[in-house]
Amino acid sequence: MDQKEDLCADNWENSSSRNEFTKEISSDHPSFSNFSSQQNQKKWEEPSILDYDIGIETSFQKFNQPSVTQSSIPHNPNNQAKILGQEDTQMQETYQTNKIHDWDPSTMLNNLSFLEQKIHQLQDLVHLIVGRRGQVLGRPDDLVAQQQQLIIADLTSIVAQLISTAGSLLPSVKHSLSAGMPLIGQLGQLGGVNIPPVPGINVSVQSHNNGGSKFSEQSNQNDLTAKYGSEQICNIEEHESKDDEDVDEGENLPPGTYEILQLEKEEILAPHTHFCTICGKGFKRDANLRMHMRGHGDEYKTPAALAKPNKESSSEPMLIKRYSCPYSGCKRNKDHKKFQPLKTILCVKNHYKRTHCDKSYTCSRCNTKKFSVIADLKTHEKHCGKDKWLCSCGTTFSRKDKLFGHITLFQGHTPAIPLEETKGSAGPVDHTIGIETTNKANVNFSFGSNAQDGCAVQDIMDVKGSVDDPTTYFSPINFDTCNFGGFHEFPRPPFEDSESSFSFLLSGLCSYTQKTGGESSSNNVE
C-alpha cells in the first residue's frame, strides 16, 4: 500500500506532461509495438483474454514489427513496465479528469510529440510494406488493399489530430470538447488515434486490467475474486448478445446459393470503411464519402459520380452475398459445421465485436454492464438505472414482461422487490440484508464527498480495511462494481451531476473513488 502511494505521489510531482506521456505510451505499446518484454507476456497468460490478445498481436506483427526497435519512446520499457502496470490506471484517470476541466499547454506539447511519434510509425509501416511487397503470396490484392486502408486511416487520424490540437486553442471549441464531446472521441483526439483505433483501445484495456489486477493481488486478495465475478457477468452478457443475433436469423438459405465473404478482423474493426482517395478521410457510409468527394472538384459533382454504385450492377442477377466471421470455431464462421451466415457487413461488425472482442465500454451509471459495441452501450445507458425489474437471481430487466417471461421460464426464480430506488441499481439485491445495503450506500456517500474535498486518504484506508470482511460489509454487487471501476479504460465524465448527488454516487461511484484515490494520496504527500 505505502509503496504504491509513494509511487503515485512521485509521478504526480513530476510534470503533468510526463505523466500523460507515460500513460499514452502505456496504452499504445501493446498495439503498436509487439512489446516483447517479459512483463507483457506474463499478462497475456490470463486465459480469458488469451486468444484475443494473441490475435491482435499477430495481426500487428505483420505491419508493426520494426516499430519495436525504432520506437521513439523515451523510456526503457523493461524498467518502466512495472511502474506502468501499477500506476497507469490512476495516471490515466487523473489525466482524463485534467483534460475535462482545463486546457494546458503541456497537453499541446504532448499531442505534438505524439504526432511526431505517430508519423514515425507510419513511416515505418510504409517501409515495411515496400520491403514486403515482393514476398507476399496468397491474396496480394487483399493485403495491399488492407495496407492501403491502414495507411489512409493513420493519415486521417494524424490530420484529425492536428486539426483538433489547433482547435483546442480556441476557447469555444475547447469548451465544446470538454463538455459536449463523448469521451471516447476525446481520447481519439488527445490520446492518439491508433491504427486501427478500436483494437488499439481494446488491447490497452487488457493491459490495464492486467496491471490493475496484479496490483490488486498485491494489495488485496479480495479484488481478485471480485474480478472473476465480473468476468462471469461478462460471459453471461456475451450469451445474451449471441441469442439476440440468433433470434433475428430467420432465413434458411441452402448452402451454395450464396457467396460467402469473409472480412479480416482489422477490416471489421476499422472505424471507417470508405476512404477518400484524395485526402484520406474515412467514412462509415459510402454516401457520406460521395458527398465529401464533391469538395475535391467538379468531376465528383456529376450525377453519375453521386449515384449509388450498386445501381449499375443491379441489371445483372446478383449472387446473394452472405458473410462469414473470421473467428474460427465460431458458428458464424464458414468452417463451422452448422454455419449460419451473417446477412450484412453491419451484422458482421456487430457480431464480431459482441462475440469476439472485449467489452470495453462500461456503463458509467451502473459500472457493471459492459459492451463492445458502442451503440449497445448507448442503448443501455438510455435505460440504465431504469432497470427496476429484478429477479431473485440478480438479473435485471428494463421491462416487466421480460422479467415475467424469465420467471415463467426458470423454476424457482421469483421477482425481487426493489428495496428503494436508490438501492436497486444493479446486481442481486438480497432483501434480508436490507440494512447492510443501506449502510453501504451511506459509507460510499461520505467517501465520495470526502474525496471531492481532497482529503480522502483516511476513508480509503477505512474502505480497504473493511474489505477484509466482505460478507458483513459489502454486498457482492459492490465488489464487482468497485473493483472494476478502477480498471476502467474510458472513464466517462464523472456524471455531470445533473441528477441528485445520491444517484451519482450509485452510478459513478466506483471509478470516481479510484480516481480520487490517486489525487488524495498526492495531496497527502503535499
Partner: protein
C-alpha cells in the same frame, strides 16, 4: 376396565356425572352446540372441568378486541381458525404472538378488517405456522409487495384472499405465484395494480387453482389462455374487467374444461360472441353470472343452449328481449336459480314460456320487473311449485290477487320479498300457509293491516326476518301476533310507523333471539319499550332508534346493563344525554355508533364516552363536534383503530320528510 372404575367412583361421589364420559364424547357433544354461539359459553361456565374441556375443544376463535388476544393464548391451546375481523388493530407483535402460541394448530386466519400489521408480522406468522392454509388479507390497502413476499413463505397456502389490496403489484403476486404451489383459491378482486403479467404467472405456476377471482382487474386477453388452461379451474370471476372484449375472447381456442362457474358481470364489452368463445368446451358449466352485461337476446341464449349442466344464471340489469327470454325456455338444462332482477324487458309472455320448461326452479328473482302482471305470477306458481325463494320487490303491475297464488301453490317458500307491492290481507293469509317461511319482506306495502299480519303470526312459526318498513296499516296488535307466533324472530323492521307504541316492544321482548331491531321514526315508542327489549332480548346486537323522540337515558341504562351483545346503535335525534351515552360505553362489544343531532349531548360527555368505550371502530358524528372535542381524542381513538365519520346533515324537524316521495314514486329503478 378403567372406564368401569371411573363409573363406579363417580357413582359413589355423585359430584360430576360427566366424569364418566371421555373427553372425546364430550367433544362430540360440543360439536352439536355450534348453532348457538352462547351455548358453549354457558357450558364452560358450569364448572372448572367443563371450562377446561371447552378450552381444549374450541378450535375457532373470533376475538372481540386485539388486546384481549393475549389472554386467549393460554386458555385455548388448539385454535385452528382465527377470525380477527372484529379487531381493527392487529400489530406485528400481536401476529407474532399468535404465530408462536398456535404454531402447530393454526390453519386459517382472517385479517380482512385489521390494519397496522406489516410484512414483518406476516412473515413471522407464515414461518411459524406451517400448517396455515387459509389467509384473508382483504382490504389491506397498506399492504405492499413485501407483504406479498412474506406470504410467499407460506408454502402450504391453499386459499388466499387479497381483495382490495391496491398496493400489491405484479411483483408481489409473482412472488406468491412462484412459491405457493398448492394454492387452490385466490381472490385478487380490486387489486388494481395487478396486470396480465401477474395473473398469467399465477396461472402458469399454480396448477392446483380451483377458484380465481379477477374482478375489476385491468386485465386483457393476454392472461386468459394460461388461466383457461388451468386443469382444475372451477370458479372464474371476471366481474368488471373492462379490458376484456369480444375481439380478445375470439382469440381463445377453448375454454376451461373443468369450469363450473363464470362470473362476467359488468363486462360491458363482451357480447354473446365473446361468451361463446369463453365457454367453448366448458362442459361442466353450472353457474353463469352475466349481471349488467350483454343484452340477453336470442343469440346469447342460443349459445348457452347446449350446456346441460347449467343450474343457475344471473342476468340482473341486462337488457332483455322477449325472444331471448323465450329461448332460455328452450335450453337443454333445467335451471334451479334464475335472477332477472331489474330486467325491465321481462314480459309476461317470455317469463310464462320460460317457467314452463324450468319446473325445477328453486330461486327466482324478478325484482323491479315492472311489466310482469298477474299472468306471470300465475304461470310461475303453477310450474315452479318447489320454489323456495321468490323476490319480486316493486313488481308494481302485479295485482293483489296474484299473491294468493303464491301462498296456495308454493308451499316450500322460505324467502319471500314482496316489498312495495299491492299485496293485501288476503295475500298474507294465503302466504301464512307457507310454514317454512323464514324471511318475509313487506316494506312499503300500504294495503296490509294487522289482520293479515296476524295470519302470518299464526302460520309462519319459523319466521326469522320480518320487514315492515313504512307499513302504515300495522299497529301493536299485529306486532303482538308476530311476537306470539314467531319465537325464532331475529330481525324486525318497523321503521316509520306512527301507530307503534311501547306495547309492541314489550310483546317483542318475548322473542329471546331477537338480534336486530329497527324502529326508526316511531315517535310513540318510549324508553319503557326499549327497556323491555333490553331486558328480554339479551342477544340484541343492532338497534336503530333514530328519531324516536321519546327515548331518553332511561332506556340506555338497561341497554348498558343487559345488552352486552350490542354491536351497533343509532341514537340520532333522541333525547339521550351524556349520562345515557356514558352508560352505553360500558358495553364491551359496541363497535358502531351514530350520534347526530343529540340535543342533550355536550362535547365533554361525548369525549368521555368515546374514551370509555374501548371497542369502537366507527363513530358517525356531526361536524359541529369536530372543533369542540380535544384533539388528543382523535389521536387516541385512531390509535385504537376507531374511524370518525363526520356528517354535516341539517337538522330535520319532521320525522319523515321524504316519506311521501317514496310512497308515491314507487321503485325509482322501475320508473327509469
Amino acid at each position: 376396565m378403567k372406564k368401569h372404575e371411573t363409573f363406579h367412583l363417580s357413582n359413589k361421589n355423585m359430584e360430576n356425572p360427566f366424569v364418566i364420559f371421555t373427553e372425546e364424547i364430550i367433544f362430540s357433544i360440543l360439536d352439536y352446540l355450534n348453532d348457538d354461539p352462547y351455548a358453549k359459553r354457558s357450558f364452560s361456565l358450569v364448572c372448572k372441568s367443563f371450562y377446561f374441556t371447552e378450552s381444549r375443544h374450541r378450535t375457532a376463535l373470533k376475538p372481540l378486541r386485539s388486546d384481549l388476544l393475549s389472554r386467549t393464548f393460554h386458555r385455548y391451546p388448539s385454535i385452528a381458525h382465527l377470525d380477527l375481523s372484529l379487531c381493527p388493530l392487529v400489530d406485528d407483535s400481536a401476529l407474532t404472538a399468535v404465530s408462536l402460541s398456535w404454531k402447530s394448530t393454526l390453519r386459517s386466519i382472517n385479517l380482512s378488517r385489521s390494519k397496522s400489521f406489516t410484512s414483518i408480522g406476516l412473515l413471522s406468522l407464515v414461518t411459524n405456522c406451517l400448517g396455515l392454509v387459509d389467509i384473508d388479507l382483504s382490504n389491506g390497502s397498506e399492504l405492499t409487495d413485501s407483504a406479498a413476499k412474506a406470504i410467499a413463505e407460506a408454502k402450504n397456502l391453499e386459499r388466499l384472499r387479497l381483495a382490495s389490496c391496491k398496493s400489491i403489484t405484479d411483483i408481489g403476486i409473482g412472488c406468491i405465484a412462484v412459491a405457493c404451489k398448492k394454492l387452490r383459491s385466490i381472490c385478487l378482486r380490486w387489486c388494481l395494480r395487478v396486470t396480465d403479467l401477474g395473473v398469467g404467472l399465477i396461472a402458469m405456476k399454480c396448477k392446483e387453482i380451483r377458484s380465481l377471482d379477477l374482478s375489476y382487474l385491468l386485465i386483457t386477453e393476454k392472461c386468459l389462455p394460461p388461466v383457461l388452461q388451468l386443469p382444475h379451474l372451477e370458479d372464474l370471476a371476471l366481474e368488471g374487467c373492462l379490458g376484456i372484449d369480444d375481439d380478445c375472447l375470439a382469440t381463445l381456442k377453448h375454454g376451461g374444461k373443468a369450469i363450473k362457474m363464470i362470473n362476467m358481470s359488468r363486462c360491458q364489452n363482451v357480447s354473446h360472441m365473446g361468451l361463446s368463445s369463453l365457454t367453448n368446451g366448458s362442459e361442466s358449466l353450472q353457474k353463469l353470472v352475466l349481471a349488467y352485461g350483454p343484452a340477453v337476446t336470442a343469440d346469447l341464449t342460443k349459445c348457452l343452449h347446449s350446456f346441460s349442466g347449467l343450474q343457475s344464471i344471473k342476468l340482473d340489469g341486462c337488457l332483455v328481449t322477449c325472444s331471448g327470454i323465450r329461448a332460455i325456455g328452450n335450453w337443454r338444462a333445467s335451471l334451479k336459480e334464475l335472477s332477472l332482477s331489474k330486467c325491465t324487458g321481462v314480459t309476461d309472455e317470455g317469463l310464462s314460456f320460460l317457467v314452463q320448461t324450468h319446473k325445477e326452479l328453486r330461486k327466482l328473482d324478478v325484482t323491479c320487473c315492472s311489466k310482469i302482471t298477474y299472468a306471470s305470477i300465475d304461470s310461475i306458481t303453477i310450474s315452479c311449485t318447489s320454489l323456495t325463494s321468490l323476490r319480486m320487490e316493486s313488481c308494481s303491475s302485479v295485482s293483489k290477487d296474484a299473491f294468493v297464488f303464491i301462498g296456495q301453490r308454493c308451499q316450500l317458500l322460505e324467502e319471500l320479498d314482496v316489498t312495495d307491492n299491492e299485496i293485501d290481507n288476503d295475500g298474507l293469509k294465503a302466504i301464512s300457509s307457507c310454514s317454512k317461511l323464514c324471511s318475509l319482506k313487506l316494506g312499503i306495502c300500504v294495503n296490509i293491516t294487522d289482520d293479515g299480519l296476524t295470519h302470518v303470526g299464526n302460520g309462519c312459526l319459523k319466521l326469522k326476518e320480518l320487514d315492515l318498513y313504512r307499513c302504515p296499516g300495522i299497529s301493536d296488535m299485529g306486532i303482538a301476533a308476530i311476537a306470539q307466533g314467531c319465537p325464532a324472530l331475529e330481525m324486525i323492521n318497523i321503521a316509520y310507523n306512527n301507530k307503534i307504541t311501547d306495547l309492541s316492544l314489550t310483546s317483542l321482548s318475548k322473542c329471546s333471539s331477537l338480534k336486530v331491531l329497527e324502529i326508526r321514526g316511531c315517535p310513540q315508542v318510549s324508553s319503557v319499550g326499549l327497556s323491555a327489549i333490553a331486558m328480554g332480548c339479551r342477544q340484541i346486537a343492532e338497534v336503530d332508534i333514530k328519531k324516536c323522540y321519546n327515548i331518553d337515558d332511561n332506556a340506555m341504562l338497561p341497554l348498558a346493563k343487559f345488552s352486552q351483545n350490542l354491536k351497533q346503535i343509532n341514537l340520532s335525534y333522541c333525547l339521550v344525554t351524556d349520562v345515557g351515552l356514558l352508560s352505553l360505553s360500558s358495553i364491551n362489544r359496541l363497535q358502531k355508533m351514530t350520534i347526530l343531532h343529540l340535543a342533550g349531548l355536550t362535547p365533554n360527555g361525548l369525549a368521555a364516552a368515546l374514551l370509555a368505550c374501548g371497542g369502537l371502530t366507527k363513530v358517525k358524528l356531526h361536524t359541529s363536534f369536530k372543533p369542540l372535542l380535544p384533539q388528543y381524542i382523535f389521536k387516541y381513538m385512531k390509535a385504537r383503530g376507531c374511524v370518525f365519520l363526520w356528517r354535516n346533515k341539517p337538522f330535520q324537524a319532521e320525522i319523515d320528510p321524504k316519506g311521501w316521495q317514496l310512497q308515491s314514486g314507487r321503485c325509482p329503478e322501475a320508473a327509469e
